[in-house]
Amino acid sequence: MTLDTWIDLVYLLAAVCFILALKGLSSPKQARNGNLLGAAAAAVAVGFTFAYPGVRAHTLNLVLTLVAMAIGAAIAVPAARTVKMTAMPQMVAIFNGVGGGAAALVSIVVFLIESPGKPAVYRIGEVIFGVLVGCVSFAGSAIAFAKLQEMMTGRPITYPAQQVINAVVAVAIVALAVATLLTGSVALLVVTAILSLVLGVIFVLPIGGADVPVLISLLNSFTGLAVAASGFTLNNNLLIIAGTLVGASGVLLTRMMSKAMGRSLTNVLFSAFGSVVTAGGGADGAGETRTVRTATPEDIGVLMAYARKVVIIPGYGLAVAQAQHTARELADLLMERGVDVFYAIHPVAGRMPGHMNVLLAEANVPYDELKEMDEANLEMTTADVALVVGANDTVNPAAKTTVGSPIYGMPIINADEAGNIVFLKRSMRPGFAGIDNDLLFGDKTTLLFGDAKDTLSKLVAAVKDA
């Protein structure tokens, strides 16, 4: 067998490992092993790539490759090790974006190498696809990162005739792509790449708030496709398989995520959701005229200490306050007193599906205390207290009652069915989706203002004294 055949066999093995890795990631028990298997397969595949004589043909290039890898690893490992769990979504966004950028660059360099020899039209087609999708993914991920990192507003940015302008840019890109196909011109390809970057930016601008994670999942899928396109250009099976696996599963994951919000993917991408700051009447005006009931942590501590069943409904506010450990402390204390306690987890609590489970797992909350939304809703009518910590939209009854509300139809946790509802909130500001919550003004509702972690600590003290 030739050396190339051996390398191809290693690539095949790596591809199988990637499939097993994704399969492992789908079950809680195998997830970690799955990820490690994927990493090992990637390392072996990368290592064997250096066996290609072509890769070692020029010493300068080889040295530069190793230098680039060393720099990359030196940046990536500390960044990934130290990122806060709450900042995870933007970390995934940025790692995804650079992958898309790399795929686009591979396609561009292939084109630069081959263009003097008048490559076949389908070869140019592969290159253009890789450049286009890779550039959109790169630019889009960068904007998504900036939004989540709050380097720019997280709200949708809209302007007149936005979708028309986007469509015009998209059409211009298609026209340029066709022109590049016919002429094989490097200059036209560069213009296509630049316009694709522009498209990535303007496509993402109107998407904001809770929709950004769905967008990241979609861009993740895009990068997969760009990698697959690079695989076609390089005649490399491993890139085609790995890229396509991610591309296909990413589309499915994206659909699951928008489904969890009760909306279609088109609605998420094109409706500038969340730009509607209030549903009927200004939020500020409404907040001033309607009264809310507040209480002291001591009152609430007593209420919970003598309850039979307490449901904790955590949201992003709990995560930003780093209050997951304090929440667990409170839950443990209540359980010692014989109170039945569980956590009700909305599928999109936090900022990505499953994000809240990650955060609570970090605080060593046992799995059996976490209940998914549907399971939790069955028990909500028998709960004495629903303690809503930094959540808002995921318990907003407007999703069930107010036709025309932007969140109408989104499945929610039925906190309103509990005997008492206690909100721990920083302020009366509406949630991520920017919609007023009538539940705050309900007669079973009590509000405790303040930082979630401080308030929970006070509750812990109050329960101890009760």
Partner: protein, 113 residues
Amino acid sequence: MSTGILEFLTIFVLAAFVGIELINAVPSILHTPLMSGSNAIHGIILVGTIIIMGSADGPAQITLGFLAVLLATLNIVGGFVVTDRMLEMFKAKSPEPPTHADASDEDHSDGGK
């Protein structure tokens, strides 16, 4: 080489079906790690960047190739490390001695604030 395109298309189509079937039954707890893990997997573009860097010629190609290797390394290394970190937290899953859980909990909360 041009005869190869059909084989590659075949592989592409089959891989697409595998990708869809694979993640059909993922509990929502694992959506975030899954997204992160698949993000790491497409970092295998690093292989492509290394190959292309081998044939890069002239300052323009070498600069772009260098950048490509750098970006791909960020993707693949960062992707796997961040996913592992997420999943590490799931390991204290089923019946674990409470003493150990308490101890590591204190470590975390000290670092938290």
